[in-house]
């Protein structure tokens, strides 16, 4: 007997249809899976065998051939277990009805017949819906992430026997997943860290506000313990809320990486990723044997925080160049070339010198000039070209820490950021970009026109403050954002002046 049913596979962040064909013929008992499956696909035969037996069905002692079509695309993971089991049961006529053909089967089987969670359910559901498939069977554990997809019937099961009973129409139970509204869930989420709790650091807070408003990348410079990480963590709170489309995209990536919080289902907060500086290039960019999105893709629509920036290997820092520019990363490997989205705000932090005390008022720096020089020279020109804002963060005193005066809460800053973002959305309507940081050279020219007064100021700044040429466009973009925050149509001199103050590293006032 031959049976054919459908399942899905993943390529990058998109799903594709996989047909599971099961053929049972007489002869020496044998089990073969063909169709370019990886090790975990091959191992399905033992899992399926036990799962069928332990669910109370008969495992026929015959010659099986299972084909996963299309046969020339690589298939990964235990996702086809359920499909193969159902295929065998129907080919051996233990499932009576033929309606299994209407469903897509996703799920891993345990030896006792329970259906276990798999990665990438959400992107496969989205692809299935857009390709016109109507019914999907998924593991119950993946139910939450699926519950935001409408216009498709999703059924969640926890046991193989349930699936068989359901297909044969022997059960009254309702396995259909109820759709939830995104807004409902999004409202519930609360960002735990609030700017209210960060004392002092006025300059850094202002810089982060500008960064959030214009989508600029930030480099924070300050001694250890000055609160750089805390500031960065608060930062994602002042970014505009994720829209449903963005949330789906983020959840998709996390689902593929297997990093989804299964209880919550959809991701409603902007991601905040902090890879360690010993991370490998692949863990950052994605790819690898079981192609998974890397840290920069997991930070998509959110924040990538690189603490101790100069400690990252040169090679690692340079791999950030393409995604910072284009918003995606293309990973080329011998087997395949995959593109993952990677549009994030980079927040990097560094010490002013290896020991961290250079320029400090009360602690002495123990580094030699050569050490400091080497440390600073790790930041290559091209990468600095992609960081618009440099801001210094300093230790605060015990007195400041215990002061009673109220700091501005995140919600208030966010209001201003949202307003500035609206202005930008209006400005860039019809173009491919959404914020000031992504402006191209002609766009910068068009939207950052300077009055005579501003031009004079710029010129004076360049000659008197020894700014490097690469600072010019950065200053314009940041000034544009500051003007947007101010609600001004034209860039004014004080906007330019403030923007200039965020170019510390170009100024070399702290090189030795």
């Amino acid at each position: 007997m031959l049976s054919k049913l459908k399942s899905f596979g993943l390529e990058g962040i998109d799903g594709f249809l996989v047909e599971i064909e099961t053929d049972i013929v007489g002869g020496v008992p044998h089990f073969e899976i063909v169709g370019l499956g990886d090790k975990s696909v091959k191992e399905a035969k033992d899992r399926v065998k036990s799962a069928i037996r332990n669910s109370g069905f008969e495992y026929p002692l015959k010659h099986f051939t299972i084909n996963l079509a299309p046969a020339d695309v690589k298939k990964e993971g235990p996702i086809y277990d359920l499909g193969i089991a159902v295929g065998i049961l129907s080919a051996s006529e233990q499932i009576k009805k033929k309606n299994y053909k209407d469903y897509i089967f996703l799920g891993e089987l345990s030896l006792d017949g329970t259906i276990k969670k798999v990665r990438g359910v959400l992107p496969m559901l989205i692809s299935a819906r857009s390709q016109g498939y109507r019914r999907v069977i998924i593991p119950k554990e993946n139910m939450e992430e699926a519950s935001f997809i409408d216009n498709i019937e999703i059924y969640a099961f926890s046991k193989l026997t349930e699936v068989v009973e359901f297909l044969d129409g022997l059960t009254e139970e309702n396995f259909r997943v109820q759709t939830k509204s995104f807004e409902e869930v999004a409202l519930k989420s609360v960002n735990k860290l609030d700017f209210e709790n960060v004392k002092g650091q006025k300059m850094a807070k202002r810089a982060l506000e500008i960064a959030a408003a214009g989508g600029h990348n930030v480099l924070m410079i300050g001694p250890p313990g000055s609160g750089k990480s805390m500031l960065a963590k608060c930062f994602s709170g002042i970014l505009p809320n994720l829209t449903f489309e963005e949330a789906l995209e983020v959840t998709k990536i996390h689902s593929i990486a297997g990093e989804l919080d299964l209880k919550q289902g959809i991701i409603t907060e902007r991601p905040f990723r902090t890879p360690h500086h010993t991370a490998t290039a692949i863990s950052l960019t994605g790819g690898g044997v079981h192609s998974k999105p890397g840290e920069i893709s997991l930070a998509h629509h959110g924040v990538l925080f690189l603490d101790e920036f100069p400690e990252y290997s040169r090679h690692l820092i340079e791999t950030l160049r393409q995604p910072l520019e284009d918003g995606y990363i293309t990973v080329a490997r011998a087997q395949q070339t995959i593109t993952y989205p990677a549009s994030f705000t980079l927040i990097a932090s560094m010490n002013p010198c290896p020991c961290g005390n250079y320029g400090s008022k009360d602690r002495e720096c123990t580094c030699s000039p050569t050490q400091i020089h080497k440390y600073l020279s790790k930041l290559s020109g091209p990468i600095m070209d992609r960081i618009d804002i440099h801001v210094e963060v300093d230790n605060i005193t015990y007195k400041e820490l215990n002061e009673e005066n109220k700091e501005e809460p995140t919600a208030k800053i966010k209001e201003r950021v949202d307003k500035a973002r609206e202005i930008q959305l209006e400005r860039f309507k019809g173009s491919k970009i959404f914020n000031n940081a992504k402006m191209t050279v002609p766009q910068t020219k068009k939207y950052c026109k300077l009055s005579k007064e501003c031009q004079d100021l710029m010129e004076n700044a360049f000659t008197n403050l020894k700014l490097s040429a690469r600072a010019h466009d950065r200053i314009l973009k940041v000034a544009r954002t500051i003007a947007d925050l101010d609600g001004k149509e034209e860039i004014e001199p004080n906007h330019i002046a403030e923007a200039i103050s965020y170019r510390g590293l170009d100024r070399k006032y702290w090189s030795v």
């Binding site: 210094e392 300093d394 002046a497």
Partner: protein, 360 residues
């Protein structure tokens, strides 16, 4: 290039002591040796040298090698002075261990002008940077040649400031011209060669070593009328320069600093022990030498608005950090930030690492 210079330049490849060089030069004078290649054949010369040195001499006595040495020197525009040369600094001639040769790149006339050396730590504090630049500016503007050693910190700051105000500066290297140390100051060295003077007692191919830096300090001290120490620790290399200055009878100036700052230890100690003259501004040094201070530069009348005045007043109490200014000026952060930038562009205040600001 006269004959003696040629022979000395050739001998510089052997790294001989000054004593041996002097002996050889006596023989050269007496026996009228005319070419460096004749040295190896001279019995008297050979007697002075150790076996290893003689071996080196034989190796180097190759017409092709000698020619390329001189060609390269000429190509790089290097001027070589010996004690008889016209431009050889008078200040050095009488010193007991005066360099036999000076390799120069740039304006050699600077060697016989009034000079002050500015020396100090390679890692100055904000205060140290500030005073070093201030002193260098005043002195350079008064036409004094600023001498220093092209190291990080105080040295570089002095050279840079002198160049910035179109003053004159001499950098004394601890190695040959082909081995600028620290390497990152190569650009600075090139600018000094162009607009000032770069000198070294070592031939271009000589690498600097641990011992050559203290040696070059004697030239820094010797070249100048006075040595100014702005900031230096108790165990700083600046001590060598100070010792040489005292040995050679040069004037010593020191700028006082905080008692608890390790970088001000040496100048403070020198003032306490009355070894150095305590100076508070570049004008004090000029006054010491009776140089008329041209009051040509009037204080520009600056117009400040209310807020800017508040900021300036806050900074009059000393360097302050951004958060302090924000709290005490009651200005919103963005406005304060833009004022600070404009004030800095106007040259009224100075921005230091760690978001600290001070009056200029």
């Amino acid at each position: 290039m006269n004959n003696n210079t040629k022979i000395l330049t050739f001998l510089s490849m052997l790294e001989l002591s000054n004593k041996k060089l002097e002996k050889i030069m006596e023989i050269v004078e007496d026996e009228e040796i005319e070419s460096p290649l004749e040295l190896a054949d001279n019995r008297n010369v050979c007697e002075i040298l150790s076996a290893d040195e003689y071996h080196e001499l034989l190796k180097k006595s190759d017409a092709r090698l000698v020619n390329s040495l001189f060609e390269n020197l000429e190509k790089d525009g290097i001027i070589i002075l010996n004690k008889e040369s016209e431009n050889y600094p008078q200040a050095l001639v009488d010193l007991p261990d005066a360099p036999m040769l000076l390799f120069c790149k740039g304006d050699v006339s600077l060697l016989n002008q009034d000079a002050i050396s500015i020396v100090g730590t390679r890692m100055p504090t904000n205060y140290g940077k500030f005073i070093t630049e201030k002193f260098a500016e005043v002195l350079a503007k008064a036409g004094i040649v600023i001498v220093s050693g092209l190291a990080y910190g105080v040295d570089s700051l002095s050279h840079r400031k002198a160049l910035e105000v179109n003053g004159k500066t001499i950098a004394v290297l601890g190695g040959g011209f082909n081995h600028i140390y620290p390497e990152s100051n190569t650009n600075l060295a090139n600018t000094i060669a162009e607009k000032g003077l770069l000198i070294s007692e070592y031939p271009p191919f000589a690498k600097p070593t641990k011992y050559t830096f203290p040696r070059r300090n004697r030239i820094i001290a010797g070249l100048s009328k006075g040595v100014l120490i702005t900031e230096a620790g108790r165990k700083s290399g600046t001590i060598h320069t100070k010792e040489f200055a005292l040995d050679y009878g040069r004037d010593l100036f020191a700028v006082p600093g905080n008692v608890n700052s390790s970088k001000s230890e040496l100048p403070n100690l020198l003032i306490k022990s009355a070894q150095a003259e305590c100076v508070l501004s570049g004008e004090d040094i000029l006054e010491f030498y009776g140089i008329n201070i041209s009051k040509a530069e009037e204080k520009k009348i600056v117009s400040l608005n209310m807020d800017e005045q508040i900021i300036i007043n806050l900074l009059k109490k000393g360097e302050q950090d951004f958060d302090y200014l924000a709290k005490n000026s009651n200005l919103p952060v963005n406005i304060l930030n833009s004022y600070l930038t404009t004030l800095e562009i106007r040259g009224l205040i100075k921005r230091m690492p760690n978001k600290t600001f001070m009056l200029n």
